[in-house]
């Protein structure tokens, strides 16, 4: 700052940057290339001068300014380069365009095919596999009688109480025709295991009336089991829906108004392998419009959420709800 010492009081006359500014301005005005038009100036006064200054006299020298500008543009370029992979947000995840159900080999968690004859009978452990889409769990059950011997599950006709329509459940597969698979998503409001699970015969007893969630059985469910001579049940603890695993997961007690859809299984007797090949009944919860599950099992396939499981699906389960 340029100051004049006037006794004690310092008074600023001109600050340094203004001085350089004036010098620059003066040299610009003298420079014929920038065409300072004196006549215009006389006519328009301040206005003209301000425009002229804006146009011709910067406050920082050009080189330095250019360098900084290129750095800023460099950062902007880095931002653009960084955004490029993000453009993938526009690419939808593989859209499911399966025309039919896949045929999927059931394998265990280490990738080895599951042998039908080694599936434990009436196991309380919740054994689940995803099918036909990821995120859609199904129970794999080897059903037995109350003594634990595998029982043959015959084909039956299942009624959908909601519509009164029926469909044919093909029965069990495997060496004893005792293996079945059902969707593990409750058709009432969509509860999933462990809230909905299989109750082996030893747990279909009044003792479960007072058990804690998720192993409780309602009195209604017990009564229905007794009246229909069903040794084991699939029961949902959320609101008490009960399904009959021996009869295609038909409805035993509400509030559900639809049976659990069944996964169609195929057993290869030479290798003892199990395959999931399709589904029957209603669509897996909640597919269909307006949150009401659909009656058509293939609705599942036109749904763009989730992707098909492919030719192998892992059946695994370690959770025994009764042991906790």
């Amino acid at each position: 700052m340029i100051k004049f010492r006037l006794g004690k009081d310092e008074k600023e006359v001109l600050d340094y940057s203004n001085l350089t500014f004036f010098r620059k301005l003066a040299s610009k005005i003298r420079d014929p290339r920038t065409k300072f038009d004196v006549k215009e100036f006389a006519k328009r006064g301040d206005d003209y001068l301000f425009n002229y200054v804006n146009k011709n006299v910067g406050s920082v020298d050009e080189k330095r300014r250019k360098f900084l500008k290129s750095l800023v543009f460099g950062i902007a370029a880095a931002a653009v380069v960084g955004i490029i992979p993000g453009v993938r947000v526009l690419v939808p995840p593989t859209i499911t365009s399966v025309s039919g159900f896949p045929k999927s080999l059931l394998v265990d968690s280490s990738g080895n095919p599951i042998k039908a004859s080694s599936l434990p009978v009436n196991s309380p452990v919740i054994l689940l596999f995803e099918y036909p889409m990821t995120g859609e769990p199904n129970f794999l059950l080897n059903l037995g009688d109350s003594k634990g011997n595998p029982v043959e599950i015959p084909p039956t006709t299942v009624t959908i109480p909601q519509t009164g329509k029926t469909y044919q459940f093909p029965g069990g597969v495997g060496p004893n025709k005792s293996i079945v698979a059902y969707s593990a998503i409750c058709q009432h409001l969509g509860c999933t295991p462990p809230y909905i699970h299989f109750y082996p015969p030893q747990y279909v007893s009044p003792a479960q009336l007072t058990a804690s969630e998720p192993d409780q059985l309602s009195a209604e469910a017990l009564l229905a089991a007794k009246q229909n001579h069903v040794p084991a049940l699939i029961h949902c603890d959320c609101h008490g829906s009960t399904y009959d695993p021996y009869k295609g997961a038909a409805v035993l007690t509400g509030p559900t108004v639809r049976p659990l859809p069944a996964v169609l299984l195929e057993w290869d007797s030479t290798t003892d392998y199990l395959y999931a090949i399709g589904a029957i009944g209603v669509a897996t919860y909640p597919n269909g419009a307006n949150g009401v599950p659909s009656n058509d099992p293939t609705d599942d396939l036109s749904n763009s959420y989730g992707s098909p499981v492919g030719d192998k699906t892992t059946a695994s389960g370690t959770e025994n709800p009764f042991s906790s």
Partner: protein, 533 residues
Amino acid sequence: MGVSEWFKERLGLDDLPFFRTPDYMYKVEYWLGALVAGSFIYTVISGLILLLYYNPEAGYSSTETLIQEVPYGSVVLYSHLYGAYAMIILAYVHMFRNYFDGAYKKPRELLWILGVLMLVLTLGTAFLGYSLIGDALATSAVDVGEGIITSIPSLSFLIPILFGNYDAGDYGRVLAWHIILVALIGVLFMLHFFMAEHYGMMPSKKEKNKAPAVYTKEEWQKFNPWWPRNFVYMTSLVFMTWGFILLIPNALAYLNGLPQELNPFLNPKPAPPPNSPAAAHITTYPPWFFLFLYKIADFTSDVVVFLLIGVIIPLIYLLLVPFIDRSPYLDLKKRRLFTAFGILMITYLIQTTIWGDLTPGVEIPVYQQVIVYLPPAVITLAGVFLIPTSRKAVASPYGTLGFLVASLLFSGSLVTLVVSPSALTATVFALFAVLFLLAARSLTPVAIKVEKQSQQPEPQPVVSESPRNLEVKKRLAEVLISLLFIMSVVLAAQLWTIPATGYASNMFGVDLGLIFVMLGEAISLYHYVVYRK
């Protein structure tokens, strides 16, 4: 002719009817509107991306798919949420600043009214957007909303109009309204923007202390033209806003198990779906910007009263204030009553929001309401009216703010003490009482000193920085820009390695947000070096 010149000529940037800006206005508080607009634009862009994926017939599951399977879907979704949050907060800040500046006065009355309407639309849009997720929180928020409407029987025809078949899981109408309201905001914004450019930014009170506070054509011509300085400054602010909008929620996504009280503010993730067993175990809360309404609903069971206190009276007041406060004075101490109202509105808004967060749905007896709401009113009114009328008698904005916060904490802790007396609450109360006294005392010297000062002649002109000092700072800024450049290149390279989905994908938002912040900072430093005199 440089590139910048070329654009300037081709686009006619010199002839834009945009406000020219005096040097002293290159401070963020003069640009709050630009920040709101920046977050609005961000939210619109991210919303359009979300629109590509959202399915109103499967609100929850398409949201989940978006988060889990769409590349960088969660980055976009969470930042959309926080873009809206930023817009709401900044809109409040923008509004209250203009309130205290008296910017609603002649000739900006319409500008102010448009702004208030936009705030209402913004809150409405945010509520609808929140409902689109269809999680347990959204459905309960819609339930509450529907409950409020149906309890005035003559209004219940609105429910199908607004929500359609929401309860059956069809969110089509909510989505449509969400978009329609945004479009409306966009239209009002254009009006608001061009009017703001027409009248110019609200000048400092030192320059114009009476309405109409506008610069004359001659004064105006001497200011900096819009291009390039304003453009540069604005870009820096917009990028910083965008950076934080991206950075914060994506970083927060890595925080788990927040205490319940913080969830409404800090948790960007959806709650479980309403039909899941897990939904039974969560405490439902409304979005934080409606916590205050939620709390007012606990004060009274009469919905008409509720709407009057919570919505209608404050809204009408804000809409009419340009016509109530008609004096030409902008100075706070010449508008004491309005100053007090403004402070009280902020205090009550914050107080009730926090209260709603701490005791959601707990009914509050009248005596407790009085205990909570009376002290701030008394303190504020007394404070505002006791300040002497001399020049510059009102304390600095920071002093007022500090006082405000202190009185807020003070009365809040008093209530806590009364409601649940214990050693802890007593200690907290004592602490805040001391703080409050200190803040109150710190205001007094300001008032006294000012009186003394006013007897002196003109105050000293502000000493500007010595050129050498400025030069050093500018050098430093240059070094910083270079550093930012290097860092941004490193981060940009890192962005390419981040997986598009899954746990790590939110790092994309964090990194990109950082780059934006650095870009904004670099532009701001550039502005400093090139334009600062």
